[in-house]
């Protein structure tokens, strides 16, 4: 009994001290399935900092928590245009770069691209990046479109004649108005960031024409459905599609999934590590950012999640299969065709969401 009392006293003391000291805990809020299995363990081993890890599956959910304030998180991972708006709303603290020596590992070109969202990369460091392209079931598509059909274009989604042939095996879109509208705009040769009413109306018309052939709009369900052969074409995020391909080959269910950055290009996005200004453990958060920028740690994450890192030093440590995959690390001629999306004004955002509802529901 006495021993038990002593143990509980020790535990109480440990909890108290960890709650007090700035460096002992770190509350991370990251995307689901977006980190290597051993990253957190290694971090705790290296620094003694205990990590509380929580996940989300949409930027909207993250943003709602951040906007409400006092989220309790010390490190979050928002995507490009969300980060840009959240910086405007004064949600993040500037990074103390003296605490981030591993910044030297980062790809200067990609960080320069990223500075269009966050001037001088003052508040953020790229975690991973990827594209919004097409995931498809190789055999089902070939069976319906014929051997001669070249699968290399967004016509797989936006040409009613092509989509109608695929409708019976299941075509799905992301439930992400910005991604989908900018892709439609780009397909028509318009500025993917246009907020011009006529341009948006044209994009909406394009989508409405293929709407009858779309099975559903969802931003995560397609991973499982592609892997199981429940659907055959999905607009999806690069790494997610590769995960579906991986699951299918593991299940050995006769399903072959592939990812395509169409010849018209694809939306390129970045996920950033950033520290909310009301974080209670900013020191721990800085240590974690620096830890992730370590070449081996980043390489481990990329090898596990199949999203591209923006870390030059990590490249030699990444599996050849991933580095050589044009869907993950696209060659220069494809890279040139990638585009990024920017934040819209609240009014334009509303217009896009409204069009999106109209496309989905007919209202």
């Amino acid at each position: 009994m006495k021993k038990l009392l002593m143990i509980s006293a020790a535990v109480a003391a440990a909890t108290l001290s960890s709650a007090k000291a700035d460096d002992e805990v770190l509350n991370i809020y990251n995307w689901s399935d977006y980190i290597a299995e051993d990253t957190l363990e290694k971090f705790t081993e290296a620094t003694g900092i205990k990590v509380v890890y929580d996940v989300y599956d949409s930027n909207e959910v993250l943003e709602a928590k951040l906007l409400a304030g006092r989220s309790g998180y010390d490190l979050v991972v928002p995507t490009s245009e969300y980060l840009e708006r959240q910086i405007k709303a004064d949600i993040y603290m500037p990074l103390d770069k003296s605490k981030l020596p591993n910044l030297k590992n980062m790809d200067a070109g990609l960080m320069a691209n990223a500075s269009s969202y966050d001037a001088n990369n003052e508040h953020s460091v790229i975690y991973m990046w990827g594209t919004t392209g097409i995931g498809y079931n190789v055999d089902m598509v070939k069976e319906r479109l014929g051997d001669d059909f070249e699968v290399n274009s967004w016509n797989l989604i936006f040409d009613p004649e092509v989509v109608s042939k695929l409708a019976d095996c299941g075509v799905t879109l992301l439930d992400a108005p910005n991604d989908m509208m900018s892709t439609a705009l780009n397909y028509m040769g318009l500025d993917p960031n246009s907020s011009n009413k006529e341009d948006l109306a044209k994009a909406a018309d394009l989508m409405k024409a293929v709407r009858p052939h779309i099975r559903y709009f969802n931003s995560s369900q397609y991973i499982n459905d592609l892997a199981n052969g429940d659907i055959c074409v999905a607009v999806g995020y690069s790494g997610d599609v590769f995960q579906a391909a991986d699951r299918a080959s593991e299940a050995d269910n006769g399903v072959t999934v592939d990812y395509l950055i169409p010849k018209e290009g694809a939306l390129q996005w970045f996920d950033f590590m950033a520290i909310p200004s009301d974080a209670s453990n900013p020191n721990s958060a800085h240590k974690f950012i620096n830890f992730v920028m370590d070449a081996q740690i980043t390489a481990d994450i990329t090898n596990y999640v199949w999203y591209a890192s923006a870390n030059t030093a990590a490249l030699p440590l990444i599996d050849a299969e991933i580095v050589e995959s044009p869907g993950i690390f696209p060659p220069d001629e494809i890279k040139e065709k990638l585009w990024t999306v920017r934040t819209r004004s609240a009014r334009d955002d509303r217009a896009v969401t409204r069009l999106w509802t109209e496309i989905k529901t007919g209202h």
Partner: protein
């Protein structure tokens, strides 16, 4: 007389006495306090946001009051409500929600009434087991049960696999992402809320009335229609309201099971809040929904008090 008064005065303070005197206030006061803190206060917060203006800030709306040149300025932005009327989206999604909730209630009633009737008519052990079966699903998370329906209804799911195996169909029937799936989900989820009040009502039914009816030569159907059914109306109303009201605002079932064109107010509210980050309009939608829900509740109260008076 004076002696008893004397006794009263010297009697020591006792909780029971105090409780009898003040208990009524206590019993009413606690739930009132509860309602004030957890219903009225959030209600006013939502109301406040619904008349404020959108901003890129944390929180994402402007304060109602400002101080300028020694003047306190109160700004109420009614544009959010105006917006709900101007765009037909909101009205039509309210109507769809009501339609889906209404038919779900009817289906739940048609399914739940016979079940409640059988439970009320069975006795002892059997009744307890049947009641247990109605309540058992509550032991599993609601979300998991809805996910289970995905496994049952999807193209590679239980039903389609079975039908294909028996050769009834050649290609899977599309059930997921349809209104059908939404109805199945809502009726399944809220069925216990229909059965339990109906059961409570039917169990109290005076069976001598039924005997009298059959003694007087009425067939079972006539007895049911003229005695059981009219007497169970309070149960029907209570059960229907318990299904109808939450079904209007249902978000999870139409999101997971329904098709993209199943336009329910819960989803519209979600997209206002999350896609548009427009907390003011989202709050206005919530306020409008509340008004829409208060009306049937008031109607229920009136129906009930009339029932008691009659």
């Amino acid at each position: 007389m004076s002696e008893t008064a004397q006794q009263d005065r010297v009697r020591p303070w006792r909780f029971a006495d105090w409780f009898v005197r003040h208990g009524r206030m206590l019993v009413i006061g606690l739930p009132m306090l509860w309602l004030m803190i957890f219903f009225l206060a959030p209600f006013f917060v939502v109301f406040k946001i619904s008349v404020s203006e959108l901003a890129i800030a944390r929180p994402p709306y402007l304060p109602l009051t400002s101080w300028e040149d020694g003047k306190l300025i109160l700004t109420l932005n009614l544009g959010n409500f105006q917006y709900l009327i101007e765009d037909s989206l909101y009205v039509s999604s309210y109507l769809t929600s009501i339609r889906i909730a209404f038919f779900s209630t009817i289906f739940a009633l048609l399914l739940g009434y016979p079940m409640a009737y059988v439970i009320a008519r069975s006795t002892g052990h059997r009744r307890n087991i049947l009641l247990m079966l109605v309540m058992l699903p509550f032991w599993t998370s609601f979300l998991l049960r809805v996910y289970a329906w995905i496994g049952i209804l999807k193209a590679n799911g239980v039903i389609n696999n079975f039908l294909m195996w028996t050769g009834v169909i050649d290609s899977p029937i599309v059930m997921m992402q349809t209104d059908f799936a939404t109805y199945v989900g809502i009726v399944y989820t809220y069925l216990p809320f229909m059965i339990l009040p109906l059961y409570a009502n039917l169990a109290k039914l005076d069976t001598t009335l039924l005997e009298a009816s059959s003694d007087l030569g009425a067939r079972p159907l006539t007895t049911f229609l003229t005695i059981t059914l009219p007497l169970s109306i309070p149960g029907i109303v209570a059960g229907s309201m318990l299904v109808f009201i939450p079904a209007i605002g249902e978000f999870v079932v139409p999101t997971l099971l329904g098709g993209p064109d199943t336009l329910m107010i819960g989803r519209v509210l979600w997209s206002e809040f999350f896609n548009n980050r427009d907390w003011p309009v989202a709050s206005a939608v919530a306020m409008a929904m509340l008004v829409l829900l208060v009306l049937p509740v008031m109607w229920l109260r009136r129906a009930q008090s009339q029932q008691e008076a009659g």
